[in-house]
């Protein structure tokens, strides 16, 4: 198992946003987490990526307990993520955004930048090359020099993914990578996720767009009110009574965000 959570819980005050979730992701898989609004999907990502400390439970990555590790260490170990509200570095170009994404794999420090020594040059080159590579991969080469403020929403989503890829991850967590974009663009992102898998990456995505999920995921976990209510192949989940009930029972599961 690449990632597994054991009995993972996160409560905010009295609210159990994530409630005793056992979940595992195999290397090379594309898996999805679905569930109505407010069911704890994003919180699950936040706990796995270290932004929130779990209230209980453990997280293992490549067999190693990372429950207490700080956010940046998890990324160093190979867990990258994007945010639901696409977060980029403003006042910077697409290329600049992605260059920072590879900083974690470099060691340039104060002395190196003062003297502009071999390591400095090597690292600057490494970051630039990696950035150009992932931009190409994400289909963004022609936007590299544009400020991130004035590129379309779909491109912004791709930049967020490109930044995650620049960290040289093993596992990429995508929080609603297709929210707020149209049908054709969604197909484009679907394509990109597939390409990531072909490159040997493992992907876990949260998505409300069912067609995309059913099309991509080999394995799906369904959350409702913080609890895992079902898990399995797309067919199994789609035919699961509890799942159907959960979706019909909540009246605000619209695909609006």
């Amino acid at each position: 198992m690449l990632l597994s959570t054991v009995n993972l819980s996160k409560s905010f005050g009295g609210l159990m946003a994530v409630n005793s979730v056992d979940f595992s992701i195999k290397k090379g898989q594309i898996v999805a987490i679905i569930g109505p609004n407010g069911s704890g999907k994003t919180t699950f990502f936040n706990v796995v990526s270290g932004i929130h400390r779990p209230s209980a439970g453990k997280i293992f990555f490549n067999g190693e307990d990372i429950t207490g590790a700080p956010v940046y260490e998890r990324t160093l170990k190979g867990i990258a993520r994007t945010f639901q509200t696409t977060t980029l570095f403003s006042n910077a170009t697409v290329l600049d955004n992605v260059i920072v994404g590879h900083r974690l794999r470099t060691k340039t420090g104060f002395w190196d930048v003062l003297t502009r020594n071999r390591r400095f040059k090597e690292d600057e080159r490494k970051c630039r090359e990696k950035a150009l590579e992932v931009l190409e991969f994400a289909g963004l080469s022609n936007l590299a020099d544009r400020p991130v403020e004035n590129i379309p929403q779909e491109a912004r989503k791709r930049v967020a993914i490109a930044m995650a890829l620049a960290t040289d991850p093993q596992l990429v967590l995508l929080d609603e990578p297709a929210a707020g974009i149209n049908f054709d663009e969604t197909a484009g992102i679907t394509e990109l996720v597939r390409k990531m898998q072909k490159r040997g990456l493992t992907v876990c995505l949260i998505e409300h767009k069912m067609q995309m999920v059913m099309n991509l995921a080999e394995h799906i976990m369904v959350l409702n009110q913080g609890m895992k209510i079902a898990e399995g192949t797309p067919e199994e989940v789609a035919n699961n009574k509890v799942v159907i009930e959960a979706y019909l029972g909540s009246d605000d599961d619209a695909e609006d965000d």
Partner: protein, 331 residues
């Protein structure tokens, strides 16, 4: 290295200008004003690193400059150390205190960090004011020795002092420039823009913020030591909280987060303040509105305004065509 690239030309011209300045200016008082402007600029470069580039509004800066000044002064007066070792130790000691203050204060964010560092500044000022036995309290320290001759070069004349301070100013700008235009600088700017995203990209933001804070206080310490060696008298008012706000003013007027901003702001404002007595008395009344106007129209200060103008002039034609091109992309 190509020295005369298009990008370097203005900078080089300015360096040459600053080198021949003492030959042109004969007015001693004006020389003094410029030397002081340079010293403030060194400190403001520090503030620019932590605030302008890293986005952490540190408000204890004058306190750290005071630490540098008093350390240099006391090492000279009490231990008889000459200026040079005293200056080196003052910088290191200030940076060490900066590190201590940093590891504690940088655990807080936003307003809390500002308030915390403001308190640090106040405490330093109070300690310097009250610790009579050590710092001379309100009477201050008198009779600090200036830099002894370095080989054949003596630092007695005003011109020599000017070149000394200029040397350290250029060194400061050099260091700041190298840091800013590198992966290290990119990392700091990333933290300024979104600390959470930076952390998620696998960067230890705490470590980087501490680095920026230490570098910032190092520059403050250097400015303080130079101040002590130049003025040769220290009073607690040189590190009062209002001095931090003066430095903030210099930074914002010159251009927060720009490489030339600290120098421009320090020179322009300290010249105005020093040359017009009226301004000195009513400076808050006069500078307040100026600052507000500047921040509204030139959020990146005078230098930021200059950059916008320059870019506009440089690509006047492409700029006119841009909207059409942009539209095509969006559709």
């Amino acid at each position: 290295m190509a020295l005369f690239t298009r990008k370097n030309c203005p900078a080089l011209a300015l360096v040459i200008l600053s080198l021949i300045l003492p030959l042109v200016i004969t007015n001693k008082y004006f020389m003094h004003v410029i030397i002081m402007g340079y010293i403030w600029a060194i400190a403001v470069y520090g503030l620019n690193i932590i605030l302008g580039y890293t986005g952490q509004t540190a408000l204890g800066h004058a306190g750290f400059m005071g630490i540098g000044a008093y350390t240099a002064g006391l090492l000279n007066l009490k231990l008889g150390l000459s200026f040079w070792p005293a200056m080196v130790l003052a910088c290191l000691f200030t940076a060490f205190l900066g590190w201590l203050a940093g590891i504690v204060s940088l655990r807080t964010r936003g307003h809390y960090f500002s308030i915390f560092t403001l308190c640090v500044g106040v405490i330093i000022h109070v300690v310097i004011t009250r610790w009579d036995d050590l710092t001379g309290g309100m009477n201050g320290l008198i009779g600090i020795s200036g830099p002894p001759p370095a080989g054949p070069v003596s630092f007695d004349s005003l011109q020599a002092q000017y070149y000394l301070v200029l040397f350290f100013l250029l060194a400061t700008i050099f260091v700041a420039g190298r840091v800013v235009n590198s992966l290290v600088g990119r990392t700091l700017t990333a933290i300024k823009t979104s600390e959470e995203l930076t952390e998620v990209l696998g960067i230890n933001t705490m470590k980087n913020k501490i680095f920026a804070f230490v570098l910032a206080t190092f520059f403050a310490g250097l400015a303080g030591a130079l101040y002590a060696g130049y003025i040769k008298f220290l009073g607690p008012q040189m590190c009062s909280v209002s001095m931090t706000f003066d430095m903030l003013l210099y930074l914002f007027v010159g251009g927060n987060g720009t490489i030339a901003g600290p120098l421009i702001g320090s020179l322009v404002l300290s010249t105005i303040t020093e040359s017009l007595q009226v301004v000195q008395e009513y400076r808050t009344v006069i500078f307040g509105p100026i600052l507000i106007v500047l921040i509204i129209f030139f959020p990146r200060g005078l230098y930021g305004g200059y950059e916008i103008l320059r870019d506009r002039i440089r690509r006047r034609l492409p700029a006119r065509e841009a909207p059409e091109g942009a539209k095509e992309e969006v559709c």
